[in-house]
């Protein structure tokens, strides 16, 4: 009947042993994304022709094929495509980060409140969510982008408006199951008020699937942003934006393939990296 009061065994806490368990796919995705982020941040310094990221024109050098001077060739007005792809990474990343931050914050807060509160609060929040989900996302973005002036900000607002309901749904379903767990009852038994329970006890335990979804969605946001710009509703000249570059180069595809191919590849690789990271994280969680 004696309870051992002895010292606790010491814990292993090597950061490397933690990393060993992480999926290779996730690491590959993270590394790739890291490279893209670095490219975006240091674009003005690593781009061979930094002024080509903006409004510079060199009519005499228009549509040169890839060469030692211009690895990715030049576009219709003689700008270096490599430089513009690097600067385009900045635009894309700003859009992705902003959209995920806005829609993630709004969606998660509404979702965790709906999931914990239940009852009519949940009903109201979920019905509003359903209304937003009832519109085809691209169509709603298009409508918004038409009403507002075409710009990068418009793209961010338009995509965020269609993106948050997914996080609300996901968070609400996870939060409602977290809300039934013992420690939530325990917190209530200790006299913790509801808002603190929601944000300190339910939220941190409901966040993991949302983080996975966020990383998976990075690719989707890039594609949607590219689509909006491609349709002329997003970034406009002379901003370097991948979707816009594809739109401007597509007519030249048969004669000057490089103008459209390299920004297209950039979109593909970035979306792919986000998916790899997200899938890797999901696989890690499922274990």
């Amino acid at each position: 009947m004696t309870a051992p009061a002895g010292a606790l065994p010491t814990l292993r806490r090597t950061p490397l042993s933690r990393l060993a368990g992480v999926d290779r796919l996730a690491v590959a995705g993270a590394v790739l994304l890291g490279i893209i982020v670095l490219a975006a941040v240091f674009a003005p310094w690593i781009a061979p022709y930094p002024e080509d990221g903006g409004s510079a024109t060199h009519p005499t050098e228009a549509l040169l094929p890839p060469s030692a001077e211009h690895w990715f060739g030049t576009d219709q007005v003689g700008r270096d495509v490599l430089s513009r792809v690097l600067f385009g990474a900045r635009t894309s990343l700003v859009i992705v980060v902003a959209v995920l931050a806005i829609s993630g914050t709004v969606g998660v807060i509404l979702g965790v409140v709906a999931g914990y509160a239940g009852g009519w609060v949940r009903d109201v929040i979920m019905r509003v969510t359903d209304v937003f989900l009832a519109f085809p996302a691209l169509l709603l973005s298009l409508a918004l982008a038409v009403v507002l002036q075409p710009s990068v900000t418009t793209v961010i607002v338009a995509i965020s408006a269609t993106w948050w309901p997914w996080y609300t749904r996901l968070t609400a379903s996870v939060a409602s199951s977290v809300a039934t767990r013992g420690f939530v009852d325990a917190a209530r038994c200790l006299g913790v008020p509801a808002p603190l329970i929601v944000f300190r006890h339910v939220l941190p335990n409901a966040l993991t699937p949302v983080l996975v979804q966020l990383s998976l969605d990075g690719g989707g946001v890039i594609l949607t942003a590219a689509a909006l710009s491609y349709l002329g509703l997003g970034a406009h000249e002379p901003t370097a934006e991948w979707g816009l570059m594809v739109e401007q180069g597509q007519a030249l595809f048969t004669t000057n393939w490089w103008v459209v191919t390299f920004p297209g590849l950039a979109i593909l690789i970035t979306a792919f990296a986000c998916n790899m990271l997200g899938e890797g994280l999901r696989a890690r969680l499922a274990r």
Partner: protein, 262 residues
């Protein structure tokens, strides 16, 4: 009434048309240990949750008084005040009762701060409470998954002690633990009850635990109280057939007499 920390009269809990628990009378005096026993679904846990005012979606009638506060009439702020600092709950499954994203120390510090205890006073209280349940102070640096079930359960008790709870509501505090670890928790509970005069309202179907610690026993079946009285009396001379069945159901090892000591 004046001496009763918990006083329940004519309690009835209904969900829709179904009565799920009826308790005509239940008192827990200061320093007393009362056990509610009965099979699963007999309304034990429901009664416990009703006392804390934590039943949702159920109609609760009758009167429940905890430390002079009418639980059924009290507002949320008053309920929050008595929860923790007067009554504290120890749950069946200790590890799920602790937020997995919080270190135990953070949990302890925040719980104390919530009841207005901060700084050195909080640290002193936490250390004293941990010593009372025979846990080393290092557990405060651990996350819940880094301690054993028994340690987690003793931490939950320590949390209640640190908050100055006068009565501990324990919902099957040992049934999720393995036998050797159960002994740790029982020993701690018994010592706190006997030496500190901590009042305990214990819900359990572990008659060995109940007979070793309880002063009085309430036997419930199908949502109603079938028998109650001093523990020794109920176990030595059960009046109801159901109580006899419960006692008879306790497994015995060959060569040992009854594990339930009257």
């Amino acid at each position: 009434m004046s001496d009763a920390l918990i006083s329940v009269r004519d309690l009835q809990v209904r969900i829709g048309d179904r009565v799920i628990a009826t308790v005509p009378e239940l008192d827990v005096a200061r320093g007393e240990c009362v056990a509610i026993v009965g099979e699963s679904g007999s309304g034990k846990t429901t009664t416990l949750l009703a006392i804390l005012g934590l039943l949702e979606g159920a109609a609760v009638t009758g009167s429940i008084t905890v430390a002079g506060v009418d639980v059924l009439a009290a507002g949320p702020a008053e309920l929050r005040r008595i929860r923790g600092s007067t009554v504290a709950l120890v749950l069946q499954s200790p590890q799920s009762a602790l937020n997995p994203t919080m270190r135990l120390g953070t949990l302890m510090r925040r719980a104390l701060a919530r009841h207005g205890v901060k700084g050195d006073e909080a640290r002193a209280r936490a250390e004293r409470a941990l010593a009372d349940v025979l846990l080393p102070p290092e557990v405060l640096r651990r996350y819940p998954h880094q301690v054993s079930g028994g340690q987690a359960q003793r931490f939950a008790i320590a949390l209640a002690l640190a908050l100055g709870a006068e009565v501990l509501l324990a919902d099957e505090p040992t049934s999720a633990l393995d036998v050797t670890v159960q002994a740790e928790v029982v020993a701690v509970l018994r010592r706190l009850h006997e030496e500190r005069g901590l009042a305990v309202l214990l819900v359990s179907h572990d008659l060995a635990l109940v007979s070793s610690i309880a002063d009085r026993v309430v036997v419930m079946k199908d949502g109603a109280v079938v028998e109650s009285g001093p523990a020794a009396g109920v176990f030595a001379r059960p009046r109801e057939q159901y109580t006899k069945d419960l006692i008879a159901a306790v497994p015995r090892l060959p060569g040992h007499s009854a594990e339930v000591q009257a």
